[in-house]
Each structure stands twice: as C-alpha cells, then as structure tokens.
C-alpha cells in the first residue's frame, strides 16, 4: 500500500522534474578557436567562419548566429556562399566539399548540411589530380568550378554535386594553347586561383601556380587570352569593370594586366604595371590582393603580406592604399583572410568597411572615417585578449548600476568608430532578455572585464585594470602606439589581442561584485585583495595597503614563492569606473583561493592556502585572522616553486595519459565493424605499454597530514542561528581542503555606530568532516528550506525576507558528498553521497532557482553542480535528493571543467577553448539561445531556377535534364509547403533528404558511366 502511494508520488515528481529541468547547450560566446576560413555573402549580409576543428559559424546582425559542425574532424579550408542564395559550400582539409543551407523551420532558420561531395578522378589517377586547391562559385549559382593540384578545373553542378565532365577544363586543353615562348612550356603546376569576369559570367580566369593566367571562355570551351606572369602566383583579382586583372606573387610583387587581347593592342606590353611595394630587399609573398573603385577619386588597393623579409618578415600586415594614404595595418596574430564591404544595397558602391579575420580576433576597420578607426564588434570579441583566470556571473543587475557601468564603459570606447555594425543579415526573433546579466572575467594581466551576458551576444561593457595600484616591471608608457614619422612601412597597430602579461602576480583569481551597492572586490595571485567602489568621476587617490600575516606566528616556514606586489606610494589617478580604495596583502603572498564580500556589513573575507581573514573595509582594519595551516604541510608553506619535482612527475604522467587517450581515440574511430581480434591486439599493445609504465593510483584514506589541507576553499556570510535558536546573528563560515568547516559569530555594530565601534568575531563552531574531502561550498537554509538571500537583497525588496521562525539548516558541500546539519546545534540530518556511489567528485557548485514552465508560480531552489567527470547535476533543497544528471563537458577537458560558472537561474558558462564560452541551460524557463531568421533576398538572376544553360550542353547532359526537372519541381513543392504547413514541410523534407542521397548516387553513377 505504502509502496503504491510512493510510486504515485514518484511519477508526480518525475513530471515536475520535466517541468523544471531541461538541459541544452545554447550558444557559444566569444571568438572561435583556430579559425581557418572566412566567407561573406553580400546578398545575405552574413559572415561565415570555418575552424580547424571542422565547425562552421555564421553571423549576421547581433543575435543572428548559426553553427554547424562537419562530421569529418577536418579543418575547413575554404568557405564560399553561393551568389544570391542561402547556400554555402565548404572545402575541408580532407578534400571533401560540403553544401550547407539555411532552411526555414518553424518560423526560424536552421543551418543544415544538405550534401557532400568528393571529386572523383579517372581511375588510376594520382590523388593530386582531384585535390581541390581553388573553388569558384559561378555567379549563376548553379555551377562550381574546382581547380585542383593537378592543374585541372572540374565543373560541378550544384546543389547536388553533379560532375559536368564534358565541361571540365583539363590541363592538356590549356597547355596546348600556351604560347611556345612561355618559359619552355614547363609544367603549369596547380590551379592557384579562379576568378570570374565581373562583367561577363562566361569568362573565368584560371591562375596556375607557375604564374600563367588563362582567361577561359566557358561557353566555347576555349582560351581567350594568356597572361604570362613568371613569378609564383599567390592570388588574382579581376577589377570591377572587367578590364584589368591584378596578380600577386610570392616575391612580394603585384602586377596589373589589361584584359581583352585585341589585335591592335597586342604589340604593346600587356603588363601594364608591376610593383614590389616594399621592395629593394627581398619581400614575402602578397597572399591576397583586392582593388575596389570609388565613385570619385582613386581606387582602394588592399593586399596582405609583402613585407620585407629580413626586417618585418614576422609582421602580420594588411596594406591599404587609397590616394595618398598608405597604411600597413599591423595585427598581433596571423591573418586568415579579409574582405571589404561596400556601400549600397547591391554592394556595388564605395568600399566602406574592411573586415579582417586574424587567428585570434576579428578586426573591423571603418574605411570612410578619417584615420580609419576600428569598429567595436558586437560579437566574436576575443575573450582571451589576456588569458582568462576566473569568472563570476551576476544575475539581474539593477538598472541604475547597469547604466552606470555602461556609462563608464562608453568613456573607454571613444577611440572606436561611430559607424554602426556593418553586418546586418537576418532578423533576431529572440525575445528581449528577461533581465540584465553581467559576466565578469578576471584576466592574467590584472584586468577584470565586464560583459553583457543577458542575450546571445556577449558584448563588452567595461574593462577594469588593477595594475595601476602596483609598481610593475613594465613601464606603462612603452606599449603606446608611437609610430615614428616617416617610418616605412607605415605601420599602425590594430587589434586588442595581447597575450603578454607584464607580471603574472597581477592575475585575478577571485571576483565578487555586490550588485546593489556597487562594491567590487577582486583578489589576485600574489595574495592581494582590492576593494573597489564605482565612481562616475575620475579621482586621484592613494591606496593604502594593509598586510595581513596569515601564519600567525607559526615558526619555521620559508615561503619560496613569489614576493608580494609593491604598492605605489604616491596618489594614482583612477579613471571613472571602479576605483580601489583599500588593499589587503596576505603574507605569505600565496594565491587567494576564496573571497566573499558582505556589502551590508561592509566586510570582506578572504582565504589562501595558509588561512583566512576578515577585513572591515569601513574602518579599514582586520577583524579576524585564522591560520588553518597544518604545521607539517611543507608544500603549502613553500609556495609553488618547490613543487618542481611533482610537476615533472605529473608531466610524465600526463604524457602517458595523452598517449593512451590517443590510442583509445583511434580505437573509437574503427569500431564500425566489430573486429574483435583487432581490438584485442590493440588492447594487448596497450597492456604491454602499461606494463612498461603502469599508471598506478594509491588507495589511502585521507589524513590530516595530507598536503594543502589548510587551503581555504569557500567563505560564506550568513545571518543565522549560531548560538541559540531564538537570536540570529551575523556569522562567517569557512571551509577548507581538509574537510573542516569553521564558523565565527560576528558582532556588527548598528549602522549609527558602525564607524566607531569595532566589529568582532568569535569562534563558534568547528566541524571536521569524517571523510575529510575538501569543502567546496557552505549554504544556510532558512525555515522554509530556501537558501538565505544575498546581502542587501531584502533591503532592496528584491527577495522575500528569510524565514527566521523555523529552524535553519546548514548545507556543507564537500567534493564527495552533500550534508545537511541542524542549527544552532550542529548535528547531521541528511546527506547525499556522490563519490562513494559513482566515483565522481564535485568541482563547481552553485545555488540556483528553477521555475516551472507549466505553472507560473511554482519554483524551487536547488544546488547545481559539475563533477570532475564533466556531468552537471541538480540536487534538491532542503532534502539533498539527486534530481537530474546530464553529460556536459568531456571529462578530459580539465580547464573547461575548472572554468565553469553557474548563474542564479540555472544556466552556466564554461570555456570550450581559451577564447570561447559555451553557454548551457538546465532550466526550462531561462534559456538564452539564438532564434533568428534569414530570408533570401529576391534577385533577378536567381529568381528563375530554369535559367538558360550557358550553352554547349552535350547530349549526355541532356539525358539528365529530366531528373533535374524533377528535383526543381520538388524544390517548388517544398517552397510552397514552407509557406503553408510546417508539419507537411517536415515530412517532405525528410523524404527529400532521402531523395537527395539517392540523387547523389545517381550522379556518381552517371559520372562513372
């Protein structure tokens, strides 16, 4: 009977779980790691970036983002949009071509891969024959010209990837017509570039690696003109009026050639102009050249590379020449590609914006404003301009603070162009973010960056630098951009990616912002804790340092780590924004491992591997210092330097692990056929290797003598019942690595005496967890079982005041289990074991609020946590019952797991690369994900799918005409359905996708036949 009732309860709970929790990875913020290709569609106004890991990302107007991933784990080498269509072709490292499209589904656009293709050469041909080196989407939108390493140009019909064998331009056809005097008719080498005549779609120019360029007539299948350049070809550009071709070469030169070999001009030199812009000495190759006309005045000439090899060969430059202005834009990382956006709807006007994709950022330059300033990008911002060391998320920022942060941030952005963001494709259909959220990232160079994390775009708001408080080795003036007059080449530094830190001690380790009071505290690598206040005006002030000795007289310790930072004695001028007014320096200057701020009581708590302290930032004195160090813990004493030995050991181990994981990766790939023996053989090899160098793990209970047991992992302020159940008092809780929790009762004077009466702290409780696992979190629950609100939250009427009638509970979260204790008398009430059951350990934990997506008024609080296995879990409060579990991060991705932060509303962020945050959501109610629509603009040329074939279609081609008609008919049906019924569309789509593959197969058969 009881069991039945319980069962009913369970299923009800299951339903509730479905209403509360739902896991999804929603959007990636930041800059893609290792970009390898750039594409742009002028008609869609979309930007595409391909990466080395096979991802393809599309960006339009802020909020419009798409992402796709190739199944092959190969780098994307080229991205081309089909002219005037929502289709896109990608070329991968493994020589496969992929067709992607933006398809409308349920009112939103989706990025889908609709076809793939691998060029088939004649049987027995070497692979170089079909190795694609150049791709040209023909302006008809139906043909794709593929230049290969063997020098052939294959013509393929899209979408569907049908090889039009009869129209291929073979190397023999071309070389037969090459003038005899062209360097003894040597091998022309691979096809380096393909360009279409902007004025005549039937003409293309084929550029061969050797230097020869051939203008080919697609209709008549013959060469029209030969351009006999003698230097290795790097790129070509056909000017807009169709009368010139520019070629750039590996020796740093570029040439301009007249097109249209009329009889009368044949005598005169076709080579109109040749120039090595940074000449005299040997130069590096010019890898891409673009020339664009302006309505009035001289054209813009842009090229990348070409720097003098010896003196500036390591610079990454794009040169822009317009009239008398000549600038070499100097980037901090390798240039991947660039393009220019032009004015006007059809993008035929003056060049307006230069977009440069470099390895670590996207730089956008306004070419129409004097001085060519940089335009602030609303997305793709390099998060890692200095390495991220920590992060904090603050939900629901009050409007006042938000506006003030934006205002001080604006003052830092005056050097940016006022031009609006030029890429405006698509519509953002997502709802406005329900609240204002801030993500704060701490960086290695001592800066804290404030990001608007409310929506799909992670937008930079404000940057705070703490370095000004300290004397550092670097002179702040020497990194200023001081280009000497008359310097050649005329360099100009652009971009903000600057991975070089002046002093690693400046690194930010912990951040805590109080959103109600505007107080911020940051703590760093050298034991420094700064308390800052938001000030709208610039102020000159001296920051007084208070040194806190956390060792408390423990003798015989020698700190071998870094020294503490030197504080500037003289007053420092701080710009408007967060200005430091007090500084605490821990002694020994070990990295700060825990930090908390209580703005109502005006107290800051901080902890290191040696102990913790409580600082009163109103009276500027120490309230409490507690040394948690175990006297026998040498590792914690000596600082990071003495760990050289163990680093060596761990390096060796990690190499072994990498080697093994490679083996297992390989294993993963081949499992398609159950080759048991093969797997066994591999395992045997693995075993042999393990016997040579076995990875062992010691099984031992934790003891108080372990290293770093005194390291403070968490600090928590609570107004709760510590001594008796009738009087609640302020309290401070600290949890250590050794499984110990210290509780202190605080006496905070009333507001009117706050400035003169001292704050006192008395030890009240000590809990030593039997299992001695590190304590990673402490939470006090009120009488209703809800976590206590944040300081000042109640005062601002933003939270229900906690229930002080019922008994409070203490939740101690260790890496291994969750334990609930009663208060004020601490006795164990409930617990949830994690590690003992499944071997995973808590890495990150946060309190989160979950609202039901069915019942508006129903919500629960829970603990959301991430394990070392990369799984996210939700545990209910106050009963600490496991609710849901989802795999989130690969377990090998240690830095990703370490970087994870949770929001108060069940979302989270973690780094998927040094430069990208993945955003995920566990909540059904709070999901921030891109919802956008891209509509293909009507274009006269592409409005009729039955555009006349460019002639010369052979009989073999005609036989396939029928199937093509069928396909286009299906397409029409689909388009029709698209407008009417989504369900029908889905079905049709499914069947079509089935057809698609069979269609492809047919094509292959045709090609073979």
């Amino acid at each position: 009977m009881k069991r039945f009732r319980r069962h009913g309860h369970e299923s009800q709970r299951d339903r509730l779980k479905q209403e509360l929790y739902q896991f999804s990875k929603t959007v990636e913020h930041g800059f893609p790691h290792q970009p390898s290709a750039l594409g742009y569609s002028p008609s869609l106004q979309l930007l595409a970036i391909g990466t080395r890991s096979g991802a393809i990302k599309l960006y339009g107007t802020p909020g419009v983002e798409f992402m796709g991933l190739h199944d092959e784990n190969a780098a994307v080498t080229q991205v081309h949009f089909m002219p005037h269509q929502a289709d896109m072709v990608t070329l991968l490292d493994d020589n496969s071509l992929h067709m992607w499209t933006l398809r409308r589904h349920k009112g939103l656009s989706e990025l889908l891969e609709i076809g793939r293709f691998m060029l088939m050469g004649p049987p027995g041909a070497p692979p170089s024959v079909t190795r694609v080196t150049a791709v040209l989407p023909h302006s008809s939108g139906e043909l794709l010209l593929l230049g290969t390493e063997g020098g052939h140009v294959f013509v393929v019909e899209v979408p569907g990837f049908r090889e039009l064998e009869e129209r291929n331009i073979s190397l023999d056809q071309v070389s037969n017509s090459v003038p005899v005097d062209y360097i003894g008719r040597r091998n022309l080498e691979h096809v380096e570039a393909l360009q279409e005549n902007p004025t005549n779609p039937s003409q293309v120019v084929i550029g061969y690696g050797r230097g020869l360029m051939v203008i080919w007539d697609l209709e008549n299948q013959c060469a029209i003109q030969h351009i006999p350049a003698t230097q290795q070809l790097e790129s070509m550009w056909w000017t807009e009026d169709g009368s010139y071709i520019l070629s750039s070469h590996s020796d740093g030169s570029y040439c301009r050639w007249r097109v249209g070999g009329q009889e009368e001009t044949e005598e005169e030199e076709e080579k109109e102009k040749s120039d090595i812009p940074y000449g005299h000495f040997p130069c590096k190759a010019i890898t891409k050249i673009v020339q664009l006309p302006t309505e009035e005045g001289p054209p813009f000439l842009l090229f990348s590379g070409g720097m003098p090899r010896a003196s500036y060969g390591d610079r990454h430059c794009i040169t822009v020449i317009h009239s008398k202005t000549h600038v070499a834009l100097d980037f901090t990382s390798r240039i991947i590609d660039f393009f220019v956006i032009r004015d006007g709807l059809e993008q035929t006007g003056d060049p307006s914006v230069l977009l440069v994709l470099v390895e670590e950022e996207l730089v956008v330059i306004d070419l129409q404003t004097e001085g060519w300033p940089v335009i602030q990008t609303p997305y793709l911002v390099p998060l890692h301009s200095s390495a991220i060391t920590c992060s904090q998320h603050v939900s629901a920022i009050p409007l006042k603070l938000w506006e003030r942060i934006i205002a001080v941030g604006e003052l830092q952005k005056t050097h940016y162009s006022k031009k609006p963001w030029p890429i405006t494709g698509g519509q953002n259909l997502g709802p406005d973010p329900p609240q204002r959220d801030l993500l704060l990232t701490g960086h290695e160079d001592g800066t804290v960056r404030f990001w608007d994390a409310s929506g799909v775009c992670l937008y930079p708001l404000y940057k705070l630098s703490t370095a000004a408080v300290f004397h550092t080795d670097a002179d702040p003036n020497d990194n200023l951009n001081q280009s000497a007059e008359g310097e050649w080449p005329p360099f100009r530094k652009v971009g903000c990616f600057d991975p070089y830190s002046d002093d690693p001690r400046l690194g930010i380790q912990k951040i805590h912002l109080c959103k109600y009071s505007g107080y911020l505290t940051v703590a760093g690598t050298a034991g420094q804790i700064l308390v800052l206040e938001l000030n709208d005006e610039a102020a000159e002030q001296t920051v007084e340092a208070k040194v806190v000795d956390l060792l408390q007289g423990q003798e015989g310790f020698r700190w071998k780590g870094h020294t503490q930072l030197d504080v500037r004695e003289e007053p420092v001028l701080f710009p408007p924004g967060f200005q430091p007014f007090t500084l605490v320096q821990c002694q020994p200057p070990a990295v700060v491992t825990a930090l908390n701020l209580h703005s109502e009581w005006k107290l800051v708590a901080f902890g290191t591997s040696h102990g913790f302290g409580l600082y009163d930032y109103q009276q500027k004195n120490n309230v409490l210092i507690k040394c948690t160090l175990n006297p026998s813990d040498q590792l914690a004493l000596e600082g990071p330097l003495s760990r050289v030995k163990s680093i060596k050991k761990s390096l060796r181990q990690s190499f072994r692990r990498i080697r093994r994981s490679r083996v297992s990766l390989r294993k993963h790939h081949v499992t398609n056929s159950s080759k048991l023996q093969e797997a066994n053989a591999r395992l045997e090899a693995e075993l042999a290797e393990m016997e040579l160098a076995p990875v062992q793990r010691k099984i031992e209970a934790r003891s108080s003598d372990d290293s770093f047991t005194g390291l403070v992992r968490t600090l928590y302020f609570a107004d709760t019942f510590l001594s008796d159940s009738s009087h609640n008092t302020p309290s401070l809780w600290a949890g250590t690595n050794g499984g110990c929790v210290f509780a202190y009762m605080l006496r905070v004077p009333a507001v009117e005496h706050r400035a003169d009466e001292p704050v006192t702290a008395q030890p009240a409780k000590e809990i030593q967890l039997m299992h001695r696992a590190p304590v990673v979190g402490v939470v006090v629950l009120d009488g209703h079982g809800a976590p206590l609100p944040e300081p000042l939250e109640v005062a601002h009427d933003l939270a229900r005041s906690p229930d002080m009638q019922g008994s409070h509970h203490l939740v101690v979260i260790s890496e291994e289990q969750f334990k609930v204790f009663t208060l004020p008398k601490v006795s164990s009430k409930m617990k949830l074991k994690l590690t003992a059951v499944d071997g995973s350990r808590v890495r990150r934990v946060g309190v989160a609020w979950f609202g039901s997506n069915c019942k508006e008024d129903y919500s629960e609080s829970g603990l959301i946590f991430l394990t070392n296995q990369g799984d996210v879990h939700v545990v209910s409060l106050p009963h600490v019952k496991m609710q849901v579990q989802y795999p989130c991060i690969r377990r090998e991705d240690v830095s990703g797991i370490a970087s994870c932060v949770f929001t108060k509303h069940g979302q989270g962020f973690y780094l998927i690369s040094p430069s990208e945050f993945e955003r995920f959501s566990l909540s059904t109610r709070f999901v921030v994900e891109p919802r956008c629509l891209v509509e293909v603009p009507l274009h006269l040329d592409s409005s009729n799918p039955h555009r006349a074939e460019p002639g010369g279609a052979t009989s073999a081609h005609r036989t396939t005409q029928h199937s093509e008609d069928a396909e286009s008919a299906a397409r029409c049906v689909m388009e029709h359905a698209l407008l009417n019924d989504e369900k029908v569309l889905q079905e049709i789509q499914k069947s079509l996708e089935g057809d698609q593959t069979s269609f492809l197969e047919n094509n292959v058969k045709h090609a073979v036949a």
Partner: protein
C-alpha cells in the same frame, strides 16, 4: 605502561614456583621444549612446555590456572604470534598452532572473562548485527550472546581482537570472486595498496573478449591490505562497496575507494584462484560460511558472516548493502566542536579554547561556570549517541569512527600490537 608496572609487582617468592630446568636452558631445547611466558593481570610466569606434548587445550588451561593460582576464575587465553598479533587459544587446534608457531618464546596473555571489555570498534557492530539476527536478543553484556554462540564451533572470540578484514557474502558470490571488507578503525595502518588499469578476459558467446579492468598493482608492506592476506597483486577489482566498476576510469575507482576508505568493501577476482572460498553444502554448519584455504596462516582473523535468512532471498549484494547502511551511521563521525554559550564569553577561555586542536593532546581543564553539570565548557557531539557521554581522552579524539565507547584505560589496551611482555 603496563609493561613497566609488571616486573615491579612480581614478587620474588612466587618466582620459585616456576619450573626451573626448562627456564634455564630454553634455547638449546627449542626442538622439544617451548619456552612459555604467561601473563595474568600484572603477574608473569615463565615455564617450559613440551612441543610434542600430548595435552590438549583443556590440560593447558588447567596448567595455567595452576601456575597463576587462579582456580575457578573463568579466563580467556591469548597468545602473541610472530606478527605481534594477539590471537586466541580456546580449542585444541589453535593451541597446537600456538605451540608450533612459538619461536622460540610463546607469550600467553590471560584475561578474566567477566572483565572482558568492549574494546574494539568492530564489537558494537558485530553485536548489533547478531542482535538483529537473533531476533532482538540485544544485550549490553556480551555474555549472553557468547553462551549462545558457544554451541557452534568457536573459531575465536572476535571480541578480543580487532577485526581488520572479513570475507563476506560467500553464499551469493560466484566461487571465483571474493568480497573483502577492510576495517580501518582508528588504526594507524595505511590501507596500503595501489590499483592500475589492465585488461580483463571475459568469456562471451562470441568468444574470448578482452575488456578494460582495474587491478591491484601493489601492496604496501605492513599495510592493512597486505596484512589481511585476502588481497593480492593482479587481483581484478569488480566492485567497490557493492557498485560495479565496469566502465569506470581508474581515477573514478580510486575516488570511490578513497571515499569509502573507512569501510571499504571490494569484490575481487583473485589472480590466484586456488585459495577460493569453497561452498559448504551443509547448511547447518554456521549458516553459509566458507573457509579459506591458506589465508589463515598470515595471522589474520577471518570471520565469515552469515546473512540473515531474509536477505538470502535478495541475491543482490544483500548483506553488504545492509552493512553499508548500518555503517552509514558510523560514517557520520564528523567531529563537531561547539561553543555552547558564547554570549557569556570569557575572553581568557576563548583563547584557550582556540588552542585546543581537534586532535590535540591537551584537554580542557577547569569547569566552565555556566556549563550545566558538565565538566567541560565545550561539548563534543559525536553522531552516534554514545558521543555525548564521552570523556575527553586524547585517544578517542583522534579516533576516526565507530564506537568509542571505551574507557580511557581500555583504549590504551586497545591496540593489541602494543602489548609486549
């Protein structure tokens, strides 16, 4: 301390009652005569014993009673074996074992049966289990249970020894597997073993398949794992506290074991399959217990726990789960130090209290004015209810878990290995 007191109180007059000839030439006669040194309370006796003597346990028992002049006193006999472990003598078999293993000296320890204290952490547990098994025969005095259990063959009174390991669930496991429980009650001994990745061979319908597994790679000398003799290098680890480790990484298994280190139950497939527990079909013989071939020679105490009849119907690690649950309460052995009345704070005492480390040697002195009838200002609350009445001995403070319900004297005798004669 006991050792120091012993010789002082030994009266010279009693020395004459010892058997002189054997005592004088003990070493030369080792082949035939065993030198015996016996101790009862603070008194020592030395005498010789024929190694191949025909007398059995009862005879020896009476001999000792005679020598120590303790006729009519019910005593328990124990001896220290070569490993320094205290082992019982209560039947002919272990008496012969004791005599044969004496090298050259046989140390006998005699304890009164009635003052037999509840010494070891395992005891309380054992009793609780037995109490459940015998349908609520819960008694505080252990005598009743003893008289009951005496009806069966008594291998040894575990009450006198710290149990360090046991083989459990013999009846529900395949013979090729062994479920070992390691007790780490307040010992300083490390668990002392290492695990590694390896390849396990499984027989499947498709043929022999090799799957990744976790194995014991090393045993630390003198560690708990080694001293049990139940675990060996290259044993495959199948379960940790009832949870299958298949598909788990080495690090996960490591973390699981460490998290369960206070009460670790590992199910292994021993690399050496010759010493497997053999099922005894006769159910009347101590339930479903098994016997271990040669493991006993290492000097460990093996207790074969028989699951209650009810649990037999549930073959899924029945008794281990049940034990895991009961152990759960012990695992709540968090030490909580509270200041009861911080409002009436004496600043002098505050600093003093701060100096008291959890595992510190110093105990608080002087009653606190406001502590109600309690001699100590700070209350130590231990999760098992016994904690409240606990004294402040340093030994109990450092104790990890389990019952600390021993007086401070007992806790000194606690560790058998510290007793030397």
């Amino acid at each position: 301390m006991v050792l120091a007191a012993g010789p002082k109180r030994t009266e010279p007059s009693r020395m004459s009652r010892q058997l002189p000839p054997q005592q004088k030439t003990p070493i030369r006669l080792t082949d035939t005569v065993v030198e015996v040194k016996s101790k009862f309370e603070a008194e020592y006796r030395r005498f010789g014993l024929k190694r191949n003597g025909s007398g059995g346990f009862q005879e020896f028992y009476r001999l000792l009673q005679t020598i120590h002049h303790i006729h009519g006193v019910d005593v328990l006999l124990g001896y220290a074996d070569i490993h320094g472990d205290l082992l019982p003598i209560n039947n002919d078999e272990n008496f012969y074992k004791a005599v044969s293993s004496a090298n050259p000296l046989l140390r006998i320890i005699i304890t009164k049966r009635e003052d037999e204290p509840v010494v070891y952490g395992t005891n309380s547990l054992q009793r609780r289990k037995k109490g459940l098994g015998l349908t609520g025969l819960r008694t505080t005095g252990s005598g009743t249970i003893h008289s009951k259990s005496k009806s069966g063959l008594m291998i040894g009174p575990p009450q006198n020894f710290r149990q360090i390991s046991s083989i459990i669930d013999v009846d529900i496991l395949p013979e090729t597997h062994r479920r070992v429980r390691l007790h780490k009650h307040g010992t300083k001994k490390p668990l002392g073993f290492y695990i590694r990745d390896g390849v396990s061979v499984r027989v499947t319908p498709q043929g022999v398949e090799k799957v990744p597994g976790v194995f014991i790679s090393r045993l630390v000398r003198g560690g708990l794992a080694e001293s049990t003799g139940l675990l060996a290098v290259n044993d495959e680890i199948l379960e940790v506290n009832g949870i299958d480790v298949a598909g788990k990484s080495l690090d996960q298994v490591t973390d699981m074991m460490v998290a369960n280190s206070h009460n670790l139950i590992v199910t292994v497939k021993p690399a050496n399959q010759r010493n497997n527990v053999v099922h005894r079909e006769s159910k009347n013989f101590m339930g479903n217990s098994g016997s271990v071939g040669s493991a006993g020679s290492t000097g460990s105490v093996l207790s074969h726990e028989s699951p209650s009849p009810a649990s037999q119907s549930n073959p899924i690690t029945a008794s281990s789960i049940a034990e895991g649950d009961s152990e759960d309460e012990d695992d709540d052995g968090d030490i909580i130090l509270e200041n009861d009345c911080p409002t009436a704070y004496n600043p002098h005492l505050v600093t003093k209290r701060n100096s008291v480390k959890l595992n510190g040697e110093s105990s608080c002195s002087g009653p606190h004015p406001s502590a109600v009838g309690r001699p100590l200002p700070q209350s130590m609350s231990l999760p098992s209810s016994i904690g409240a009445s606990l004294g402040y001995s340093s030994n109990t403070m450092s104790g990890h878990n389990g019952s600390l319900a021993s007086s401070s004297q007992d806790s000194m005798k606690d560790d058998g290995t510290e007793l030397t004669l």
